[in-house]
């Protein structure tokens, strides 16, 4: 029970927010339930399966690339001191998360389209990577800084460790959970990316069409397909995110 009226207001606002978020997340299942027959009929539609395959595979590739790139870049951003570091960090981590993806898609189209990369699977990866990779970089940079703050790096170096030893034997083992958490968010963000991919990669079925573009293109004329694609993607995202967190949290279910 709330202790006073002020706490009551805090509780009420919290409940409104929580309800808004959860309804937004789960209403899709209610809608699918209402049109179950139609949705079930197109669940294994070849276009839906194609979009799902491209979405999931590209998201995994983006997650893997984000890890491969973030491990050294986070090291650079943590241990290298240079002027303009804070500004660079804003440009690398914050901007991609707030920059209009549609504009980014246009930038890639203008910049890389001339090399024949537009409307290819590589374009899907490139478009998603810019938007999603900063999650992993952000997680890792924060963790590396915590490690540097404890002085483990100085001790390891005083024992003769070079950068390779330091990274492989100290920093990475201590960052494993953050790496996985960053990967999971990158994966989820890559699964949901629409605008940049649509502009730069288009929506060629079984090549560049992903779940979000399929939903966008069919929501008016073939809503059953849009709902089937959405419910698969949402279920997969929730399942994957919880699984990654379960592993990252030491194999304990979240409370």
């Amino acid at each position: 029970m709330p202790k006073d009226n002020f706490e009551l207001i805090i509780y009420a606002l919290s409940f409104i927010f929580i309800a808004y978020m959860l309804v937004s997340l789960f209403y899709l299942y209610v809608a699918v339930g209402e049109s179950l027959g139609q949705v079930a009929g197109v669940l294994l539609d070849t276009r839906v399966l194609g979009a799902l395959t491209i979405s999931a595979s590209s998201a995994f590739i983006v997650g893997g690339l984000a890890v491969a790139v973030s491990v050294p870049v986070a090291y650079f951003m943590t241990f290298k001191q240079f002027k303009g570091k804070e500004t660079l960090e804003i440009l690398l981590v914050d901007m991609p998360q707030t920059f209009p993806p549609v504009t980014e898609g246009l930038v890639y189209l203008l910049m890389l389209g001339r090399f024949g990369l537009a409307y290819t699977f590589a374009a899907v990866i490139i478009a998603k990577f810019y938007v999603a990779a900063p999650f992993t970089l952000s997680f890792l940079t924060r963790r590396y800084r915590e490690i540097a703050g404890t002085g483990y790096d100085v001790v390891a170096r005083s024992l003769g460790a070079d950068t390779k030893h330091l990274l492989n034997w100290v920093i990475l083992p201590l960052s494993a959970r953050d790496l996985l958490a960053g990967f999971s968010l990158t994966w989820a963000r890559a699964m949901g990316e629409l605008a940049a991919t649509l502009i730069f990669a288009g929506a060629v079925p079984w090549r560049t069409e992903i779940i979000p573009t399929l939903v966008y293109l069919t929501s008016k004329d073939a809503p059953a397909i849009a709902m089937a694609a959405s419910v698969i993607a949402e279920t997969l995202s929730i399942g994957a995110l919880l699984s990654f967190r379960w592993i990252a949290g030491g194999r304990k279910w979240l409370t």
Binding site: V154, V155, S158, L159, G160, D162, H165, V170, P173, L174
Partner: protein
């Protein structure tokens, strides 16, 4: 011949001078304790000698070689920080053998060194424990063994007794002194407690305002403190020496 020489060292952070024209020398196999009030630059001095930070001016010479431009990992200087910084993901064995792994020691040789050190610090049977399963005193001994395993040219200890609980502090202190003498390792130890400084040091350097004010044996320091600041700093030792 001095094992370590520091000459005309300066270090500032922004406009604040932390080390101000500091010179000092440490003889081979000697334990020099740096003592002084908080913020007088003791830890900064250790980090400069270690190579974790660079001096603005001055030279650091270890075994007749200027090491200013050598990175930490090439200086052969082991460091035990105040909180010991034991790697939490490694066992006691993993921590102690860390420097030996870096140097590609053979398994057999690594085993021999680690087990002899475990024996020396009286922690046999705890080799598979993780740091979070150790007491403050045990952590201190593991950190010391880890630092000594690589046979450093110089050992730096930053407040080695500050994280040790009072109940075991006396024993830990005695064991630390005994280990340093037995291992014959040249050591610089930072301590703010005069009792610790007098128990551990062959000589004590009193630091104030980024400089060494006086550097003497414990008995000379007690007999002839250079000024009132030094006298105040070691005042508890006058009481203790009268009581004994």
């Amino acid at each position: 011949m001095a094992h370590l020489r520091v000459e005309g060292l300066f270090k500032s952070y922004d406009t604040r001078k932390v080390i101000d024209n500091l010179s000092l020398s440490v003889n081979a196999h000697e334990t020099l304790v740096i003592m002084g009030a908080s913020g007088c630059g003791k830890t900064t001095l250790l980090l400069l000698i270690l190579g974790a930070i660079r001096p603005d001016k001055g030279i650091i010479i270890i075994k007749d070689k200027i090491v200013n431009d050598l990175p930490i990992e090439k200086r052969e200087v082991s460091y035990v920080p105040q909180d010991f910084s034991l790697f939490p993901h490694l066992t006691v064995y993993g921590n102690i053998s860390f420097g030996l792994r870096v140097r590609n020691y053979e398994e057999k040789e690594k085993d021999r060194i680690v087990h002899s050190l475990l024996e020396a610090i009286d922690l046999r049977g705890l080799s598979e424990r993780k740091p979070n399963e150790l007491s403050g005193g045990q952590k201190q001994r593991v950190a010391l063994a880890r630092a000594l395993a690589v046979c450093p040219s110089l050992l730096l200890l930053d407040e080695p007794l500050s994280s040790v609980d009072e109940a075991t502090k006396e024993d830990v202190k005695k064991n630390l002194r005994k280990t340093l003498i037995e291992m014959k390792v040249t050591t610089i130890c930072v301590a703010h407690d005069p009792e610790d400084a007098f128990a551990l040091g062959d000589r004590i350097a009193v630091m104030h305002g980024g400089r060494i004010v006086q550097c003497d044996t414990p008995s000379r320091l007690l007999a002839e403190p250079k000024d009132n600041m030094v006298r105040r700093l070691i005042a508890p030792m006058y009481v203790l020496s009268k009581n004994h």
